[in-house]
């Protein structure tokens, strides 16, 4: 009996997911009949690519490169004539077999590092790329430091710290639905359900 809640969650999610899967115009009633994409007819595409990889690369590049003239727009979104020229140029470069980093380098030598939304890693941009990781490590040390200090203050967990804030016992009399209280009940419930099993 005690397992009902868990099963309910599971069924709820399963049915939700199933309905999401089926919601696609009732076409794909099950996973097995899921139709793969029919690609767009080649003739009507404005830009023609040899393969999917090339297409992905092109669209990624025009997303990640900045239009030099515009306010703050990438090449894909800009209507400026220069953006159009640069898109064409990138399309040509991609067709000629340039790799992504080669195209970026090509644009950088002409328009400066300004056009790269992800600045190349260099001594100048080291702070930009390293600081977040450094901060994570620093944060880890700070947390460990706080925990260590706490431990040195109170090795004995049995004893309540008299901190002036309501502890478990007082809380109980004030408000039966307090977090601690409920947490304890959760534990009890889980205990009893595991006992049921045995």
């Amino acid at each position: 009996m005690k397992k009902h809640p868990l099963l309910m969650v599971f069924y709820f999610l399963a049915s939700f997911f199933a309905s999401v899967c089926m919601a696609n115009e009732g076409k794909n009633l099950s996973l097995l009949t899921a139709e793969p994409l029919v690609n767009v007819e080649i003739a009507s595409e404005l830009l023609k690519f040899e393969n999917e990889l090339e297409r992905k690369m092109y669209y990624q590049l025009i997303q990640d490169l900045r239009c030099p003239k515009c306010q703050n727009q990438n090449l894909a979104d800009s209507d400026a004539p220069i953006a159009n020229d640069l898109r064409n140029e990138i399309y040509q470069l991609v067709k000629e077999g340039y790799t992504s980093s080669e195209v970026e380098k090509y644009m950088e030598t002409r328009y400066g590092q300004f056009v790269r939304y992800a600045p190349a890693v260099s001594s100048a941009t080291a702070v930009l790329w390293m600081l977040p990781a450094a901060l994570i490590i620093l944060g880890l040390f700070i947390i460990l430091g706080i925990l260590k200090r706490n431990r040195s203050f109170a090795n004995d967990f049995g004893k309540d710290f008299d901190d002036g804030f309501h502890d478990d016992k007082n809380q109980h009399t004030f408000d039966r639905k307090s977090a601690e209280d409920v947490d304890r009940r959760v534990t009890e419930l889980l205990h009893s359900s595991s006992e049921d099993q045995q």
Binding site: L13, E35, L37, D77, F114, L135, V186, L190
Partner: protein, 688 residues
């Protein structure tokens, strides 16, 4: 005449704000009750005069009074009425007036709903709000007067509102955003008060929490509306660009999110006091920083206001006074705010600490990325751009542990949890569910969208499932009750419901972000009238192209019928009719692309009309965006959670029972006020 009345009312606010900023504070310092109690009246007066001022400006816009410069520059007689009204805040001066008006409304709200606060605390909080108000009123009046007249060269017709802003999104996005931004001023004022009085206890946290939650909820909705507006209005199919101005609103949100959590720990356990104060200061400081970045013209953004550098200097000075002095106060007074409370390594405090650390690093990363180009410019080290590829690669890895922790923290007790007592079964269950859904979901999505197996999508689905299932199990376990689950659920505290709903919202948003990023498809195609092309599981047919007339624009509109792809002959059932447009606005001569969208929960079909290539032949950009709706749906849940949490009894009780009469309220009031009187933080506590 009306604009002059508005201007006069605005000018009157300045001395009122000056009085509000000084008299109650002096009263609190000297113990003069009369001076302290004058605060609510001054707050009300300030609000009233700003309301008058605001109404006068609205009326100038609504009646097309082009002798007012602002109206002449940003409105037009052909503009529909609701856009005339929203044009008020579609520019620097008007939006700043809105900013100040919202601040005064928050001030009035604090004055009204804080009767249970000790007089001196309330007086100080209102004074701090008055100081901020004073600074911004001075800014409006001296640098950005919205009522300026065009006396020498009156014009017959206004220049019109930027067409991008002629949209329902602009009517509601800025007010929501400002209510959120400016709302953090209240938490800020409480923090400054705590520093001034060196008093920070559970009661203080209980007072600050509802204000912080509501501001946070509004900011969440405001940001989401901005994202939604950019998505359908800009015609690029993107919903987040990591533009400096977007980041300027996102940073206070990150700080606010950290604050909401750290306040919870401060209220329940008295920990992180000094940190909570810093976050409260930070959240509002970042709002001000955002205001500076947007209005000073110091950086290039799609959204920035046209601006002149003297204004920038003024806000900068304001920034130095407000943020500088509060951080200085913090540095001097925070030692008195040391938390004396200890907690075990395995405790909810530790997890909230981790949550805060991660959110702070995320915040620092966004700040760094936004300002990096400015640093390099200042050092004459060249022009750099920092954009989506940087932010995505940095931000997402930081957020993943946050999402994981979200499923763990609710199960861990405050203060200490013995490892032996931790139940791992809900986690095992949730993890299995996460893996199961992740595998099934990714395989399904990949086959449906003809995509390689994507680890990013698998991780997204796993994380969303993980959060949902852990939260769901916790909810169900917690609501188990002799009389059944439903009555158990009814007994749960609203603050707990709020948490669950907000976390569920995060799961939905994360799912939307992940899936739409991985599976979105985009094609640029040429289409002739009558021709149809297949893309994905859909067939698009260009039925017609025609010209139409709008109120203040002329437009070319395409009619595109969408059918299911593979049933070419059999089913001609139209799924959707899309009407993308290209508009030419008369007044500004701007050409705007209006994308057409067929929205569903599971996917959007998004078509934007491009250039005419030939007679009857047009370029089109077609997007299929799976689950993009979930991004905004989730934020609604988040905001809802934030608001529901405020309905918690303990905030209302604190409100109603400053003088407890019944036995029940004696108990609750005891918990609320005990700490104020007896347990107010005492520096000597620290050494126990």
């Amino acid at each position: 005449m009306i604009p002059e009345i508005g201007h006069f009312a605005l000018l009157l606010c300045l001395p009122i704000a000056l009085m509000l900023a000084t008299i109650p504070l002096l009263g609190a310092v000297r113990g003069n009750r009369l001076w302290m109690n004058a605060a609510p009246i001054m707050a009300a007066g300030q609000w009233l005069f700003l309301l008058i001022s605001f109404c006068c400006l609205s009326s100038a816009f609504l009646t097309d009074d082009f002798s007012v410069k602002l109206v002449a520059m940003h409105s037009n007689s052909k503009l529909p009425g609701y856009f005339k009204f929203s044009a008020l805040w579609g520019n620097h001066e008007g939006s700043l007036l809105l900013w100040v008006f919202i601040l005064s409304s928050w001030t009035l709200a604090v004055a009204c709903f804080s009767r249970q606060l000790p007089d001196d605390i309330r007086a100080r909080v209102l004074s701090v709000l008055g100081m901020i108000s004073l600074g911004f009123l001075a800014f409006v009046i001296f640098t950005s007067n919205p009522f300026e007249r065009l006396l020498l060269n009156p014009v017959a017709e206004g220049r019109d509102l930027n067409p991008l802003l002629q949209d329902i999104g602009l009517i509601i996005h800025p007010p929501m955003l400002y209510i959120g931004y400016v709302g953090f001023a209240v938490a800020f004022a409480f923090a400054i008060t705590a520093l001034m009085t060196e008093k920070l206890d559970a009661a203080w946290a209980r007072w600050s929490r509802p204000w912080t939650n509501i501001a946070w909820a509004f900011l969440t909705v405001g940001i989401a509306l901005g994202s939604w507006w950019a998505y359908y209005e800009l015609g690029w199919g993107g919903w987040w660009f990591w533009d400096p101005v977007e980041n300027a609103s996102f940073m206070p949100w990150l700080a606010g999110t950290a604050l909401v959590h750290s306040l919870a720990a401060t209220e329940k356990r008295g920990v992180f006091r000094s940190w909570t104060l810093l976050l409260a200061i930070l959240a509002f400081s970042l709002s001000l920083l955002g205001t500076f970045l947007v209005r000073s013209g110091i950086l290039v953004s799609v959204h920035a206001f046209a601006s002149d550098p003297t204004r920038g200097i003024f806000i900068l000075a304001l920034l130095v006074i407000v943020i500088g002095s509060s951080l200085l106060l913090y540095a001097l007074k925070a030692p008195a705010m040391r938390s004396a409370v200890r907690f075990n390594g395995i405790s909810r405090e530790t997890l909230l600490l981790a949550n805060n650390a991660l959110l702070t690093v995320a915040l620092a990363t966004v700040l760094l990325g936004t300002l990096f180009p400015l640093f390099m410019k200042a050092l004459n080290a060249g022009s750099y751009s920092v954009g989506p590829p940087y932010f995505n690669s940095m931000f997402i890895p930081i957020m993943i542990p946050v999402l994981i922790l979200m499923g763990i923290a609710p199960y861990i007790h405050w203060k200490q949890t013995r490892i032996s007592s931790v139940q791992i079964r809900p986690w095992v269950f949730s993890l299995s569910a996460a893996i199961l859904f992740s595998v099934i979901g990714t395989i399904y999505m990949s086959s449906h969208y003809d995509h390689d197996f994507s680890w990013a999508a698998a991780l997204t689905i796993a994380l969303s499932t993980w959060i949902t299932v852990t939260t769901g199990i916790h909810l169900i376990l917690k609501s188990s009750h002799q009389e059944g689950i439903i009555s158990g659920m009814k007994r749960l505290a609203p603050s707990y419901w709020g948490m669950c709903i907000a976390h569920f919202g995060i799961a939905i948003t994360a799912l939307g972000i992940g899936l739409t990023s991985v599976y979105s498809e985009q094609r640029d195609v040429r289409m002739e009238v009558g021709q149809s092309i297949s893309l994905g599981s859909y067939r698009y047919q260009l039925v017609d192209i025609r010209g139409i007339e709008g109120a203040n624009y002329r437009s070319t509109q395409a009619t595109i019928n969408v059918y299911m792809a593979e049933a070419a002959g059999s089913s001609d059932k139209t799924i959707a009719v899309l009407l993308p447009e290209k508009r030419l606005y008369y007044a500004t001569k701007n050409v705007m692309t209006e994308a057409a969208i067929d929205p569903r929960l599971t996917r959007d079909l998004y078509v934007a009309l491009g250039e005419q290539l030939d007679d009857g032949v047009w370029a089109m950009r077609i997007h299929v965006k799976p689950f993009v709706r979930c991004i905004w749906l989730g934020t609604l849940f988040m905001a809802l959670g934030g608001v529901i949490a405020v309905a918690d009894k303990r905030y209302r009780k604190a409100l109603l029972s400053s003088k407890p009469k019944t036995l029940e309220s004696v108990n609750s009031a005891a918990s609320a006020t005990a700490s104020v009187d007896v347990l107010a933080l005492n520096p000597t506590n620290e050494n126990n």
